[in-house]
């Protein structure tokens, strides 16, 4: 069946309306947001964790922004504002880079507390969670 609206010989207002509304409905079904689990802005880091036998890392933005302004991590620590664009190795953290600039037993608890970061459900995909409304920062 050819869509009536595109067929110039068979243009009927009722059908056009119906097909239009069906298209809109289909779009709604496709774009309906997934049920928002997690807290808004939570980031899952699982590029390497599970391959190395650890649970995925959950980074909670809400927890950190109560204590630090954005510029601390996104300028001083050097995290780029795009999920997936920061290559963080555990060795970096232990040597005091990235998370390790604070998680060093001085500003915050140190990297010996594996379970506090590596706390995610196995099998999670990396990206921003908690119902993000862009396809952007969550994409890898």
């Amino acid at each position: 069946m050819t869509p009536a609206c595109l067929n110039t010989h068979n243009r009927h207002p009722a059908r056009c309306f119906l097909q239009g509304s069906m298209l809109v409905l289909a779009l709604f079904v496709l774009l309906a947001p997934l049920p928002a689990a997690a807290e808004y802005g939570d980031v899952v880091l699982n590029k390497r964790a599970e391959k190395a036998g650890m649970r995925p890392v959950i980074f909670p933005h809400w927890f950190h922004r109560i204590r630090f302004r954005c510029r601390v991590c996104h300028t001083e620590v050097g995290f780029e504002m795009r999920a997936g664009s920061n290559n963080i190795l555990m060795a970096d953290i232990i040597e005091g880079r990235f998370c390790g600039m604070c998680h060093n037993n001085k500003i915050a608890w140190g990297p010996q507390n594996c379970q506090l970061c590596h706390s995610g459900l196995p099998g999670l995909e990396s990206g921003v969670r908690g119902g993000p409304s862009t396809g952007g920062p969550g994409k890898w």
Partner: protein, 201 residues
């Protein structure tokens, strides 16, 4: 004519099924978790049941629940349910501005920018002040936004796909469901038509 009626009836049936599908695809009503604090309204997921943390893992029981920390901050309907800029401005929180320099002061710029090319939507008012209490100039300039007025051309499509404003809004800062937070200046409110306008306060 009868076949036409049949067709319309058939299409109506399909449309109704579509509506039903939409109604059914909504997430089932979640039981509201018990409030963690007396004032905590229980609108935040707990760590144990947020479908992100592993309840079987040793860390899940040790981490702070969002409700414990967020319930006393100025409330919003979306995102973290917190108006973060107001949380600083009204003194609820005082996040550190630097971990390298204890005397570092945020360079707050009180300058509103209006973006006028917004089609039929109200114009966008960008308040530097609310942004510079969190970020420094270099976080957005010059690599993402040019300082020169009108030099950065982007549309809602870019924002929705996570570029420009969408770098933060829609992921960490308030979601893009809040159209009128940004599109806040009605054209008829301004006395004369403006080009890209900067309002120095």
């Amino acid at each position: 004519m009868i076949t036409m009626k049949r067709r319309i009836a058939g299409l109506l049936l399909v449309a109704c099924t579509g509506v039903l599908l939409v109604a059914c695809s909504e997430p089932p009503a979640r039981t509201v978790p018990t409030p963690v604090t007396p004032e905590g309204p229980g609108i935040w997921q707990t760590i144990m049941e947020d479908q992100l943390h592993d309840p079987a893992g040793p860390g899940a029981t040790q981490l702070q629940n969002p409700a414990e920390a967020l319930f006393y901050l100025p409330s919003a309907y979306t995102g973290n349910k917190v108006r973060w800029a107001e949380a600083i401005e009204e003194g609820y929180i005082e996040p550190r501005a630097s971990i390298l320099d204890n005397n570092y002061q945020m360079q707050v710029l009180d300058l509103d920018v209006i973006r006028t090319r917004t089609a039929e939507m109200p114009m966008v008012l960008f308040p530097h002040k609310k942004h510079t209490i969190w970020l420094e100039c270099g976080n957005c300039h010059e690599w993402l936004f040019k300082s020169k007025r009108g030099a950065t051309r982007f549309g809602m499509f870019d924002v929705l796909s996570g570029e420009y404003c969408g770098r933060c809004h829609g992921a960490v800062a308030f979601p893009l469901l809040e159209c009128y937070y940004c599109h806040s200046v009605k054209r008829e409110e301004l006395k004369k038509p403006v080009t890209e306008l900067q309002m120095h306060k």
